[in-house]
Symmetry: D3
Subunit: 195 residues, 6 copies
């Protein structure tokens, strides 16, 4: 066994911050008390597990689920910089910041190398597992937008529907579920609000 449980405990304390880190993308769409990053990370793992079953392909589930669970860990240091904000940062700056934060968090842990490799593969969608988790991350977002739309009537979430109508997923399984969400998304028909 590893000689330093305190080092692992410090990592778990850091990771615990994700339970109180809200997903900023929702704030930008007027969702007042949205899910936190921890709940989204679980949702991503849950979706990934379903997509893996749907796909019928031979996937390394340990690798797949580790990616899903760890994929937003760096946000406990960097915060959840929303997708819309990335265009204002230098190219690659967000990914680099997350890589640096992760390096600091994992420094000295025996798992540092393998988890770093995992996260790099994920960011670059380097293998089938990474592509599936990437799809799961996005599908989880679309699903949550639909749930918020139906649970709160939030009109701004229609923009998520618009965006995903034009997006293509990497895997057939994710595409199939996304198509069903878009087909079942109710017409709630608020009129034009921009002049």
């Amino acid at each position: 066994m590893t000689p330093d449980p305190d080092r692992w405990l410090d990592l778990l304390l850091q990771a615990n911050i994700l339970k109180t880190t809200p997903r900023t993308g929702w704030h930008l769409r007027w969702v007042a008390q949205p899910e936190d990053v921890a709940a989204h990370s679980w949702g991503t793992a849950m979706v990934a597990l379903c997509l893996a079953e749907m796909s019928g392909e031979p996937l390394d589930r340990g690798r797949l689920l580790s990616m899903a669970i760890l994929h937003d860990l760096a946000e406990s240091e960097v915060s959840d910089i929303p997708r819309m904000a990335v265009r204002f940062l230098p190219a690659g700056a967000k990914n680099q910041a997350e890589a640096r934060a992760l390096a600091e968090m994992l420094g000295g842990l025996p798992a540092a190398d393998s988890w770093t490799e995992l996260m790099e593969a994920y960011k670059q969608e380097a293998d089938a597992e990474a592509r599936l988790v990437r799809d799961a991350d996005r599908l989880e977002f679309l699903l949550q937008a639909w749930v918020y739309r139906r649970a709160t009537g939030n009109e701004l979430l229609e923009s998520v529907r618009e965006t995903y109508r034009e997006k293509e997923f990497a895997t057939a399984a994710a595409q199939a579920v996304a198509d069903r969400i878009l087909a079942r998304w109710p017409e709630m028909g608020a009129g034009p609000t921009r002049s």
Copy 2:
């Protein structure tokens, strides 16, 4: 690929409820706006991943993390009946209710058999993966109690410390981290409040 993405989508909609299902055990201890079950499930998977690394044992990580992610899924139907309340129910009633709810949720899905087997193994701590996830579930609870204690000063959480002083974990890795939490738990010394 599975012929019915709608069936999978219905499962994901059901699972999504865990994001707004609070962990009742905290309410009973005066934690007013506690974590939800989804965040705890992610925390359990995160702890399990760390414990697996610490243990150095050959574990099936796909099985391990699937268990962690799915272990409270039935609570989206049954709600989170708190541990303290189980003694008021007939023996085995809670486990049975969760098994029935899970059967209903998974009915007709190709993954039904394998996931049911997984959950039964978990409930009975039938293999090394199940024992580790069980430890992770309890360690995650102790860790969160410590975090709430330090973040809010909630005095009732001292009872969790008392309980875990006498508990033994199945794995050396979990025991080592728990020992460090108990050692670092600050003396906050509120006087006796029961007459």
Copy 3:
């Protein structure tokens, strides 16, 4: 006066938990931060008081309101196991658990016998007061569903309307108010969301 104010104080501390115990039925319908059990208990008492006035019948208001105030007290131990979950438990298990929890909470108090009798009468709708409080409990739920529907647009709450269209209340007063809620419930017409 009773010789032991500490014993009564312990009961009040236990009861206080209802102020932070959310009503789980709302979580299952995507209401993110719903009312707590204490607020619902007050609402039930308020509705019961109105129904008693409407009915014009000679009712024991002390008995009536005591029932309303105490009717969910056991949930401070057992948590609010949602109605939808009861079918997964052995028949009678929820009522039995609540009776056991109540016995423990009231043990040694001079009011134990009379309050226990009250709660049993309520559960069995044994008299006119019990039947009215039962109606008040359900009417309060329908009223709150309507308020949440109008205040948040939550589409899932339409299922409550559907359920209550077929329900009959025991008292004419409750039926009359319920009929008005259903008549005034606006058509908000979201399309079909199940395939």
Copy 4:
């Protein structure tokens, strides 16, 4: 039966606002997400019921509990103007405002006269039931302050302890419970924070 269920329904819709009306006194003491008026009203009724049992005196429980349930109803119109703020208003202005709001809310209802009489008796502590509910209202506040103190460490709540050390309750039962709260309130000893 009353010929107009719609009129009763409008009253219940108005009363429902108490479920989302926070108790302002807590905000002034830095309690960020405090209980609402509905939960406090239930707490007052619960305390009153216990005090009635403790007292052993012959009390009209229907009158007692109606007072507790209705005692803050006018706050659904007037809001909860905190005790500390009353000194800035003309003498009697708050009571008068609540009486006017109540008159408007109850106008045309058959219960208007009897409920108005009830509320006036309560405000003037005109009988044994009114005095007990008044004590219950204040004891519930002290109890909640103690719970918040223990659950959140909020240092400002010590001022409530100071205030109640000098207060006397009208009934021996309330005094006995208050004495136990003050005796069991832990010494948490933050130093002086005013220069």
Copy 5:
């Protein structure tokens, strides 16, 4: 420099309460977790700044923004007595209470006289700056009602639209923005809910 930083610090501690003082008007319209007074005060200052730019008139921006920032300061003592409740109070009672509370809060501070003059000018809309801030206060309310309407579907907020259709603003700039809000407010067409 002023000889007594502690006195200023006490004022800032008092003012800080506005961060946890909810705007009561929203509660009366079923908005469960609305903005606090501090956020509204910032919004008012932001709107006032824009209106000043729009107007092109020579305004004293220091005076203008001081008014906006300070205009609800007394609510940290008095609480936010909602507009709908003012009709139940003696004429002028609310303004007088706020003036008294402010006098107490500022007592002994060198800024007491100038800030008191500022607040009195504001209440009486005595100059161009006061009229603009008054418009900003109301426009901010209309804007927030529209945002809540679109973000939560809350049907009760339609009454705000109705009210503002008949209101006239003192400044052309505020009127122009209000007209655009009303023009862009989507038709969401819930049917009649009063019998």
Copy 6:
């Protein structure tokens, strides 16, 4: 008057997002439901106003308060990237991102040039007003940390005290208030929690 009220309305809608944008720095310190950016911006303006009075120096209050109100406006696009995270980004990247977002938000508005100049002066602490607002921003943070410490017992906030013990403010007024906060910060003496 400006010919395009819709353009101003769009800016106000964008700015409104600050009311639901939480201050991320608190999440990283386990403050679960912290203040939003709008409330902090008001607090900064309030502190700046007090410091200006304390200083006795001739300051342009219009410039001063405009800076305070606008200083975090870009966070409605970029989100609140916490101070601790800046070290992971390329030097200057955060400021540049905020400048770009602001340019986009203000594009086409007559105030664009003057507000951009204002924000640049603020970022570079180029004049007395900018230095005072910078101090106000930091003092407001220290004050809020102290309030959270006293209101919730959150132990992690001790690190803020440590940090500010070594910091120097640019203005004597800010330094004087900060010294009083540190002097009055109670000793709450949790033991060491790092091994």
